[in-house]
């Protein structure tokens, strides 16, 4: 295992998420360490996706701070935020591929925008990324022509295009059959191990949580705040909190 001291990659401090007057979650404080596969978990409607939107710069927090390393993310200007988030990749719930472009063009766009690679080199990188997610040969397909699971994988290929330091996944296994979901988990694990990428995964799929998670935060919808953070397996072994226990055991009475 990794022997170096854990270093916080993203730190969340006293964060409050709100829509107008409606406070979704308050007082969230946790660290996402470098190399973690960090699970943001909780019941439906607890604000998992909102949490991710705040982390990737799409929605501003009502209160509190998010640090990327030492940099205060929401305290910086838009340009700094852009620069930080460019080092991250995001996979959206439905893939969110640009529907007017082929898969190859989707993956190529960030490369064309931010690197000086020649078209030939870009084509090679695109081929590699698509092959990594098992979509070799699908370069010229449009997103509408492939299945939902393939769209998600193509979304991952696009998110990985720039070799990001952090990958965000919004509900990666939602709507996938068990085998595809399992393959996606394996892919996440593999990328984490071989590239050392920090992964932030929003999910409520228990199988995934235990299979890949090395760290996590649990958002309790009834208390409107986080009630636990740590390795999910450890949490299951240690927790005294009935809500968390219920969540982690799929509601089975222990």
């Amino acid at each position: 295992m990794n022997m170096t001291k854990k270093e916080a990659h993203i730190s969340v401090r006293d964060l409050t998420m709100a829509y107008g007057d409606f406070v979704l979650m308050h007082d969230l404080t946790f660290d996402i360490n470098r190399g973690d596969i960090f699970i943001i978990m909780g019941g439906s409607g607890c604000g998992k996706s909102t949490m991710m939107a705040i982390l990737v710069g799409l929605k501003d927090p009502a209160k509190g701070k998010v640090f990327y390393g030492e940099v205060d993310f929401w305290g910086s200007d838009a340009e700094t935020r852009d620069r930080i988030i460019r080092r991250a990749g995001v996979m959206y719930q439905s893939g969110a591929l640009w529907s007017s472009m082929t898969l190859a063009e989707n993956v190529a766009l960030p490369l064309e925008t931010y690197t000086d690679l020649t078209p030939g080199q870009i084509r090679e990188v695109v081929g590699l990324k698509l092959a990594l997610v098992g979509l070799a040969g699908f370069e010229e397909f449009y997103p509408a022509e492939i299945s939902g699971g393939m769209q998600k994988r193509a979304g991952i290929a696009r998110a990985m295009a720039m070799d990001p330091e952090i990958l965000f996944f919004d509900e990666p296994s939602a709507g996938l059959d068990p085998v595809s979901a399992r393959r996606l988990d394996d892919l996440i694990l593999e990328l984490n191990e071989s590239l050392g990428t920090t992964m932030v995964v929003v999910t409520h799929e228990l199988a995934s949580i235990f299979a890949i998670g090395t760290n996590s935060v649990f958002l309790d919808v009834s208390q409107r705040t986080m009630t636990a953070t740590g390795n999910p397996k450890q949490l299951l072994a240690d927790t005294q909190d009935p809500t968390l226990r219920l969540f982690l055991t799929r509601g089975e009475k222990s």
């Binding site: 995001v90 719930q93 439905s94 969110a96 640009w98 529907s99 960030p110 925008t113």
Partner: protein, 377 residues
């Protein structure tokens, strides 16, 4: 053979009401409601417990369940004890399931009646809010345009080409038809009046000046508002629903530059060209009436038009076309970017884009006309 669900009430003791259910309790057949029981309870206030006798029920579905849920509500309101041991097992279990998660009181969106003044206030605040949004959007568009001038804007040249084709070449048939017909109509209207004075030849002046200076730009603008403005709003709206715009943002690519800028550029460049073409079609329409109906010669009509329509008129017309192009693109893109995350929101965005664009076109025509009048051109 189905038997209608029946209910009869018995009162074996002063404090007990027995509800006997029989027959088919299904949604498809009309079944008695709980209000009969409520009425009975009002007439006999001593009742403390309700006993359901369901042994005679032949078959049941949600029809029975909704009745029981209502009954249960009634009992908890009036503090009655409900005994339902004889219910079918399945029905009992489903009832328990329905009651397992308590109703979230604050979740139900109150269709609250809003006082007229409050409504007026809300709408006013909303109006200023949306005016602010419009200004912000225009500001962002200007910033994106500045970046374009400095060669820093990020968009795909191929996209620009495709959009340009969509807003120009593909719009030619409809623009031809509309402007030809408008020229025809103008000529007919003018002909009737001018014939009275034997001044048919001035139909050429009337059609030429009206089309070139104003009508071609307005008609093209309105056609483009419906055709292209709506399409822009629907495209960007769908991208919003699909999180595609979020995906651009998290890549650090400004949607303003990537999506809005090429659309505005395409319309700003292509609208004056479309207007020029629309001028020709309008004059052609007038000429058909002039030559065909008023017995003017082709040469005479052409010469009269050339004499009447000055370069200034053409300039004003093309400038209007340019302005309308920007308005249509702005309206379409803005409504698309503001779109909510549902299918009906996309429809609203498209509708609203067309309305905004047409209002914008009419208002700016007014402004341009007043300014021209003031300048004496």
């Amino acid at each position: 053979m189905t038997v209608r669900g029946e209910m009869s009430l018995e009162q074996p003791a002063a404090d007990t009401l027995k509800v006997v259910l029989s027959g088919d309790w299904k949604l498809s057949g009309a079944v008695p409601g709980a209000d009969t029981i409520q009425q009975r309870l009002q007439t006999s206030p001593g009742v403390r417990s309700l006993v359901i006798d369901a042994r005679e029920i032949a078959s049941w579905d949600s029809g029975l369940l909704t009745f029981l849920v209502n009954l249960r509500k009634l009992c908890s309101q009036q503090n009655l004890i409900l005994k339902s041991d004889t219910l079918p097992q399945g029905a009992q279990r489903l009832l328990e399931l329905a009651a397992a998660v308590p109703e979230k009181k604050d979740a139900r969106q109150a269709g609250a009646r809003v006082a007229f003044l409050a409504y007026l206030g809300d709408e006013t605040v909303y109006f200023f809010h949306s005016a602010g949004e419009l200004l912000t959007f225009i500001g962002n568009a200007v910033i994106a345009f500045q970046r374009l001038l400095r060669g820093k804007a990020q968009f795909r040249r191929a996209d620009l080409g495709l959009i340009m084709q969509a807003v120009s070449a593909q719009a030619l048939p409809i623009v031809s038809l509309i402007c030809f017909l408008v020229g025809l109509i103008l000529a007919f209207i003018g002909a009737i009046q001018l014939q009275l004075f034997g001044a048919q030849i001035y139909v050429a002046d009337l059609v030429g000046i009206a089309m070139v200076r104003l009508m071609a730009a307005i008609m093209t603008g309105i056609v483009m508002a419906g055709r292209t403005g709506g399409a822009f709003a629907a495209q960007l709206g769908t991208m919003q629903v699909n999180q595609e715009i979020d995906a651009l943002q998290t890549l650090g690519i400004s949607p303003m530059e990537f999506l809005v800028l090429p659309r505005m550029l395409a319309l700003a460049v292509m609208m004056p060209l479309l207007c020029l073409y629309a001028n020709l079609m309008g004059i052609l329409g007038g000429m058909v009436v002039g030559v065909g109906m008023l017995n003017l010669s082709f040469i005479a009509y052409f010469n009269e038009t050339a004499k009447a329509v000055g370069l200034m008129n053409l300039g004003i017309g093309l400038f209007s076309g340019f302005v309308f192009g920007i308005i249509v693109a702005l309206a379409g893109c803005m409504r698309g970017m503001q779109c909510g995350r549902s299918a009906s929101a996309v429809g609203d965005a498209a509708t609203s884009a067309v309305v905004t664009a047409i209002v914008g076109i009419i208002v700016s025509t007014e402004i341009i006309t007043v300014i021209c009048n003031f300048l004496g051109i």
